[in-house]
């Protein structure tokens, strides 16, 4: 890993077309700006980690599948009264 120390307003250039700017430092939080081409994906790492964990939990392996299928068979979905998701449900 390349380790650099930056002050606010200083930048890092990656690959000719990505610019990382330290916008502000406030206590233990750093505000970072990222300019990158539209096709470059930029994501907070903890979200990737949370999805990774959830996929592994969701995946049925081998004999579990029959058990899970029984739980899934009775599922009733797609009613007009289905709850609209809210942001405070099950945040990782």
């Amino acid at each position: 890993m390349l380790i650099l120390t930056r002050k606010p307003d200083q930048r890092i250039l990656i690959n000719d077309d990505i610019v990382v700017t330290v916008l502000a430092v406030d206590g233990d939080r750093v505000k970072i700006g990222i300019s990158a081409p539209a096709e470059v994906s930029v994501l907070r790492e903890e979200l990737q980690r949370a999805v990774s964990g959830e996929n592994r939990t969701a995946a049925a392996r081998g004999p579990e599948r029959r058990t899970l299928e029984r739980s899934l068979l009775g599922l009733r979905l797609a009613t007009a009264a289905a709850a609209t998701p809210t942001a405070d449900q099950g945040k990782p």
């Binding site: 539209a38 096709e39 470059v40 994906s41 994501l43 907070r44 979200l47 990737q48 980690r49 949370a50 999805v51 990774s52 964990g53 959830e54 996929n55 592994r56 939990t57 969701a58 995946a59 049925a60 392996r61 081998g62 599948r65 899970l68 299928e69 739980s71 899934l72 068979l73 009775g74 599922l75 009733r76 979905l77 797609a78 007009a80 289905a82 709850a83 609209t84 998701p85 809210t86 942001a87 405070d88 449900q89 099950g90 945040k91 990782p92």
Partner: protein, 145 residues
Amino acid sequence: MTAAVRDSDASATQRTTLRFVAGMPGLEEYTRYTLVGIVSSPVYWLECDDEPAIALPVAAAEAISPSYAFELTTADAIALGLGGARDALVLVVLTVSRERGGITANLMAPIVVNRATLAARQVILDGNRYPLRFPVESFDDAADN
């Protein structure tokens, strides 16, 4: 696009092969899956072609949350070759968990499928708008029905 295959109950089950442009988080090695219907159910199995022991339960996003809507990033739209929403099928992964007492749907990371090419990708929605574990059914509710 799909082929009907007779299973042992002599009823046709649709099987559709999807090609993931990247392995899903946690399952990075696998990119080929087959979507298999479960008879009389809105739930499908996403079966891993390269590791048959692995399968993910999924459902159409609109069946879980009719108002579910998000913007696909340009990066993801390009990766999937998607020009517009009408070309996309959106699936969400269901987690069945005894420990958590029910079934939840991952609305934070939907699987977006290009209907024409069957390219697929699990995209992660930033912005805290949709939960990782959206409650679909609790086993207590199921027991009461």
